[in-house]
């Protein structure tokens, strides 16, 4: 039986859940009538035993942190983690405890996945920003712009500007594929909603880049869209140098919030 106790134990961090154990073994000693407390974050465990004549007093046997890398094994009602082996009342309860204990590892994996996904987004969007920046310069200083990307022009029988378009087209295709593949790979960790949000973010920043390329754009729709994505900014701010990098930095906070407010299990 699980009894969530919000801050029930002063030693545990945050709200915790309490489970009655059929038996427990810790460091080669067995304990009948054990009680297990797990904090909601899944990072701390406390094993205690009921003592006294009426078994009403509780003596803490062990209290320890669970590393996110710790292996959590479940076999029916039996659960093993670190040096602790416990038998819970039912296999369902054992699965529930295991799920809580696996949360830190899962979150770590989600954060790693988010970081990978953000990096792939940055790869694509910054390539695109570079291309649009060059094309903007091409409008006012075509000679300087082309000389600055001279290395893109390798075949003398083509026009330099065609070579620039072709090179950027290849780079963009490659980085978009990389981004899509990264998001597809990470979707199992991030979940469909967060992955969808990352696609929306990439597209919206792309729309901002397009708007910035047009000197007369008022950016109203783009700003509203960014606002929905949790990014507060202004048209003036967007017109400063490296808008993509700054937008992605601001988006990171909103994405992290989505990670931490996700349901406990996929």
């Amino acid at each position: 039986m699980a009894v969530p106790t919000a801050g029930g134990d002063a030693s545990a961090q945050g709200p915790s859940r309490t489970y009655k154990l059929a038996s427990a073994a810790y460091r080669d000693k067995t304990y009948p009538d054990g009680i297990l407390r797990v904090n909601e974050a899944g990072s701390e465990l406390e094993l205690s035993q009921l003592t006294g004549k009426r078994k009403r007093e509780e003596a803490v046997i062990a209290r320890f942190r669970i590393e996110p890398t710790a292996e959590v094994l479940v076999d029916g009602p039996l659960l093993r983690v670190s040096e602790l082996s416990i038998a819970l009342e039912t296999p369902g309860i054992a699965a529930e405890v295991a799920d809580i204990l696996r949360r830190p590892a899962r979150e770590r994996e989600t954060l790693r996945g988010l970081s990978e996904a953000e990096s792939s987004l940055a790869g694509f969007l910054e390539t695109r920003e570079g291309a649009l920046k060059l094309l903007s310069r091409m409008k006012v200083d075509p000679r300087g712009a082309l000389l600055s990307v001279e290395s893109m022009w390798v075949a003398d029988d083509t026009e330099p500007i065609d070579a620039v378009y072709s090179s950027y087209s290849t780079r963009l295709s490659e980085s978009l594929e990389k981004m899509k593949s990264s998001l597809a790979n990470e979707e199992k960790n991030l979940g469909a909603a967060l992955t969808g949000r990352l696609f929306a973010l990439a597209y919206s920043i792309g729309a901002v880049q397009n708007a910035l390329f047009e000197p007369d754009s008022d950016l109203v729709q783009e700003l509203a869209s960014l606002q929905e994505l949790g990014i507060a900014t202004t048209a003036q701010d967007l017109r400063l140098d490296r808008p993509t990098e700054r937008l992605l930095l601001r988006a990171h906070g909103a994405l992290l919030a989505l990670v931490t407010t996700r349901p406990p299990s996929n």
């Binding site: 694509f124 695109r128 291309a131 649009l132 094309l135 091409m138 409008k139 200083d141 075509p142 000679r143 300087g144 712009a145 082309l146 000389l147 001279e150 022009w153 003398d156 330099p160 500007i161 378009y165 950027y168 087209s169 963009l172 295709s173 978009l176 981004m179 899509k180 969808g196 696609f199 929306a200 990439a202 597209y203 919206s204 792309g206 729309a207 397009n210 390329f213 729709q221 783009e222 509203a224 869209s225 929905e228 994505l229």
Partner: protein
Amino acid sequence: MPRCANGHEQRLGLKCATCGEALSYRDSMEGLLALPKVVPDYGRTSVVSVGYPRLSLKADYVGHISAGQADLKTSTVFEVASIRGGSWLDFNKSYLGEMRRWLTLVGIGKSTDLFLVVDTTDPLSVLVLSALPQLEHTAVVAVVADQDSTPVEQNTSYVALSLALKRGLPVIALSETFQRGMLYFTEDRGFAAKGDAMSRLLEPLLEAADDLMDLLERDLKLGIKMHCLSAIVAGSKSVYGIATNAFMAQSYNISMGTKPDEYQTVHSLVFSRRENEGEFEKSFGVFRNRKFKGALNAEFRFRETDSQLYDMVTIYGMKSDVSLQGIAPGYQAIVASMPELSAEGVS
């Protein structure tokens, strides 16, 4: 464009404005692959100077090609490291590929008109004219070696001029002696000599670039590629008197001497206040009838200015071989000892 589960498309946002469903962006990402098409504007008039690193000109684009301390490439400068004792052939061997590449990158020939201002005694002149693609609306203002020049200069100049003519480019030639003696004075800017004088001479010509190119291309159709010129910069009534005097006076200081009957066309461009147009036009007629009655073509072009002073430039079309004849002996003398420096050997 992103769309919701019900197929409604929407430009941006998280929820569909029509049905409230969540928008999906997954299938819209390819839309970000398209880059806007930019058609670069290279301007109307471009000038590329060769061997004049400090020429100060007003045009949509001014590029300079010269030899200096080290290799340097920017959008307006192509500087190569000097080759000690190097002939035009050495520069061609070392820099032809790079030169072609730079000319393409700076969009040579992409403006409406292109003027090459070339010191043909400079070995780089051959390099540039070798590297130049086949272009329309392109003319060469060339400082040409003369009998006072060394045989090496004459050889270089001969090869460069031959190349320009072979490519069908109209040439306005100024002898080295004429160019050295150019000296202009204006009250607001003082004396101008050497490169400054060249800049001052080219200033009105570039302002009337489309007229000048038109005249040169008309002559080209008559088979006339080679021209020389005479000019009055900052002229005034108090100095020259009536306009006919000005036309006559300037014709005594022509940039490349030849016999008057060898001039096949004569065109004058005058830059003055509107009220003087009639007088200049009439005087041009008198000037032409008096000195160039047999000319195949003669045209007068007028450009209005605010200044009390006027500029007058007259270009004279002549037979192509005239400019080459004078320097042929020096050219031949070099080729006799170094056959690889012949005009035929240039790529």
